[in-house]
Symmetry: C3
Subunit: 204 residues, 3 copies
Amino acid sequence: MLTLIYLIAITAEAMTGALAAGRRNMDIFGVAVIAFLTALGGGTVRDIVLGRFPIGWTQHPEYIYLVLGAGLVAIPLARHIQRLTPLFLFLDALGLVAFTVIGCDVALGMGYATPVVVMAGMITGIAGGVMRDVLCNRVPVVFRQELYASVSLVVAFAFILMVKLGVPQEVGIFTSFFVGVVLRMVALRWQLGLPVFSWQGTSH
Amino acid sequence: MLTLIYLIAITAEAMTGALAAGRRNMDIFGVAVIAFLTALGGGTVRDIVLGRFPIGWTQHPEYIYLVLGAGLVAIPLARHIQRLTPLFLFLDALGLVAFTVIGCDVALGMGYATPVVVMAGMITGIAGGVMRDVLCNRVPVVFRQELYASVSLVVAFAFILMVKLGVPQEVGIFTSFFVGVVLRMVALRWQLGLPVFSWQGTSH
Amino acid sequence: MLTLIYLIAITAEAMTGALAAGRRNMDIFGVAVIAFLTALGGGTVRDIVLGRFPIGWTQHPEYIYLVLGAGLVAIPLARHIQRLTPLFLFLDALGLVAFTVIGCDVALGMGYATPVVVMAGMITGIAGGVMRDVLCNRVPVVFRQELYASVSLVVAFAFILMVKLGVPQEVGIFTSFFVGVVLRMVALRWQLGLPVFSWQGTSH
């Protein structure tokens, strides 16, 4: 079940990555790279930071085909993806939660301390989007928009808490999805964001 | 032979990195850093992604001296390098092929699956240029110009195919160079590029 | 003693990272991420490049709390931090030296060759600031301003030289701090910088 959601999520993430590349007039190779990094970059950074080799997707070549294919398919479908924005925002929310839960699970299995587990979950959830934005030469949107990273943080806390409490894993995963997706949808609907820190002073 | 081409290639890459830094008015230290990353950054990313430690250049301090020296020497020679652009484009094509072949070879030796081997070759070939462009705050040119990453892809496929077919390594390497350099030169001469995906819609 | 200076340094670095994020109107989560990367990103990159797992801060969750706390505390204090700029520049200089010495020490302990040890020191010293600037979408200031990376280089050379000469470690560390902080303060006072390489030609 989690695997199925994960596959749907990396497909959706790859497609949104492709659209971002299109806005920078990249060629189809650039589209493929951005799609790949948006979908699998977060897990790659997590595995490197945790020292977990070989990295996940290197053992699953089918993921590589899936995200590259999704990125390229997004090109002729761009107009429709745009029209389906609400669906993609929902799939993206699913993906954010799935990535976060998987990231926490990996770090827990390696015996890391709780703050590191939380960070592993968040890195998995958001680093792909950050890499997409850096390569497209813009300030990462996850640092500036409606609750996104915060959703990942809440999900990570909820999931870890339930693991520590001995809640059955299925219940923990289901609750994480319920909390995370609802929170993200509510944030999008009413444009809830974190307070912004605007600072005009000079700095080093 | 491959080693010699590799040394020429990292020297040329370091010099083009230095020129890119100069266009951003960096100080000579910045020039050295960009030169280093342009020349050795691709192999570094490849080794990290493949979990291959210690990283290549840490075992070859002479490579460090070579690329830093080349980067700094490029400063007084900038005008001449400009005039020698055709030569540098040729050296750059040699380097692209050499990096790709070496990257594939490393991943094959570690037993990775074919798609990962292809990616290892391409990462080695192009990640250095991507890092140069990100640090110089521009959208990476390898995603937007004449066939470049595509050449790396074709070379990777050709090299792996010949390895799998049991072709003698020298023949495989030579064929890869022939195909890759000719393809790149043809692309430059007639400005062949991949189709570009231009998308003006909003995206997430 | 070195640990105490290290803790002061990561606190100060986290605060300057937070101010940089504020100038990009990031939300408080973005502020926390930039604070974290500015303070601990250099050590992270060093550990990855040296193949040293688990990465330092994953074994010290208290560092995570410290830098996130410092980043968030910087928000209400931004005006005062601005007024205290000379103090922060001094703390930043302390941090630059502390990071460099620690980075060299780690690489020496792993038996790397001298040029790699120098680079490990410099990566620890400056990579955090580079990541801050890339994520804030500007050309890294360490490549363009008063002597900064050069101070790290001089400190690395001095420290390694003293280790090789068998000077007692306390003396080596103290001398490194004296040389590094004085050099950085002098550079700031008289705006000493490295020569800049300005190049308007086209490049690849």
